[in-house]
Symmetry: C2
DNA sequence: GAAAGTATACTGCCTAGTGAATATACACCA
DNA sequence: TGGTGTATATTCACTAGGCAGTATACTTTC
């Protein structure tokens, strides 16, 4: 399981990722990260200037695989855009059912640091969510929805996704994600139907 | 401004509320709350057994006024259920525009304590969100939507509300709440139209 | 021998929570 | 009226431990 050959920096980052995601930014001390990485604290501070820098690096590491997960769920689903979006929510619900699932690391970090809007981790969080929104927006435009409506719809789907993360983290009931999926499917279908009325 | 006559316990609770909401649970020390309340830490510990108890008490205090705020926005709006729900989101957007707005205290606290599901503050958070959902559900049932659909719809609106809280706290752009309001309005209207098809 | 990387041991500060003593208020009784 | 007991409410000074971050010295590798 433990790939011993990993360079120190990566090992620290991996340990930080597991602990920060599993227990929260503020709840995890630098000492704990160093210990989990099998490294002394001084070594950690050789590779990262501060805890804040480590937090930001952790989030930046997580951005590409997270987006790839969404893209994969969408690509592997079948049917039209609406059906595929619904499938993404179903995949989300399934993931949320696992014990190790602890919501969205970006969202949770942004809540822990909400009073520091300039914090690099906040920037990373915003960038990630924006990329997700832009990807959805592109999807909807490709399906023939006009630019402004596609943007609005992408935002609504993001709201449902992030709402799911927050609500399911609180209630621990993935059923909310099914509700969110139905809502998203309905909204996408409504948007798909609209241009047909407008251009007969 | 400062009502000096307030009993000590209430003064502590008020100070805790301002600080916890404004800066976050973990970021605020018991000392800070005591100082803001004009009381020694030992006095605070006379009235509250622990910081955790104080946090829970703070959330329980906020539950009734918060629900009342939603009810008021809904009652003061005009039009059918869908239009009133949209008005609530508009009110939310307006509130989120103010500098002191820091998202939803219940949601933020639940994120800070997400790994302690049995924490009294978590229970208070769940109870609050459930009450909000039940209120919405009742509204939809009164409008003639059947019980199961009303429940699903209430959950979807809650998801949009909480999604708004999370996303706007991150991006600091209340425009997302307008998007959420449009989505909610659309979903409510669709649900209102459905029984007419089913019972002609 | 120089640079990169790691280890030990430490500083200074902040944190939640406590021990022991004191002040106030009010009830009961002579 | 005055004294005494008891519960409530408050203070000052303290403990014990966790935290981020650092000074310094050692080791490895090229």
């Amino acid at each position: 399981m433990e790939t011993v050959a990993l360079p120190t920096r990566e090992r620290i980052l991996q340990a930080a990722g597991k602990l920060f995601y599993g227990e929260g930014i503020r709840a995890v001390s630098v000492d704990a990260v160093a210990e989990k990485a099998g490294v002394t604290k001084r070594t950690l501070y050789y590779h990262f200037r501060s805890k804040d820098e480590l937090i930001a690096a952790y989030l930046e590491t997580r951005d590409p695989p997270n987006l790839a997960w969404f893209r994969r769920q969408y690509a592997e689903a079948e049917g039209d855009v609406a059906a595929r979006i619904e499938a993404v929510f179903r995949a989300l619900a399934s993931a949320a059912g696992h014990a190790r699932w602890k919501g969205c690391g970006f969202l949770r970090t942004s809540v822990e640091l909400f009073n520091m809007p300039g914090h690099p981790a906040m920037r990373a969080g915003r960038a990630h969510k924006t990329r997700l929104e832009d990807w959805l927006c592109g999807l909807f435009e490709d399906a023939g929805i006009d630019s402004a409506a596609a943007r609005d719809l992408a935002r609504q789907v993001v709201l449902l996704i992030d709402g799911s993360f927050a609500v399911v983290l609180l209630h621990r009931d993935p059923g909310y994600m099914e509700s969110a999926g139905r809502a998203a499917g309905r909204l996408v279908r409504a948007a798909l139907d609209e241009p047909r009325r407008a251009t007969p």
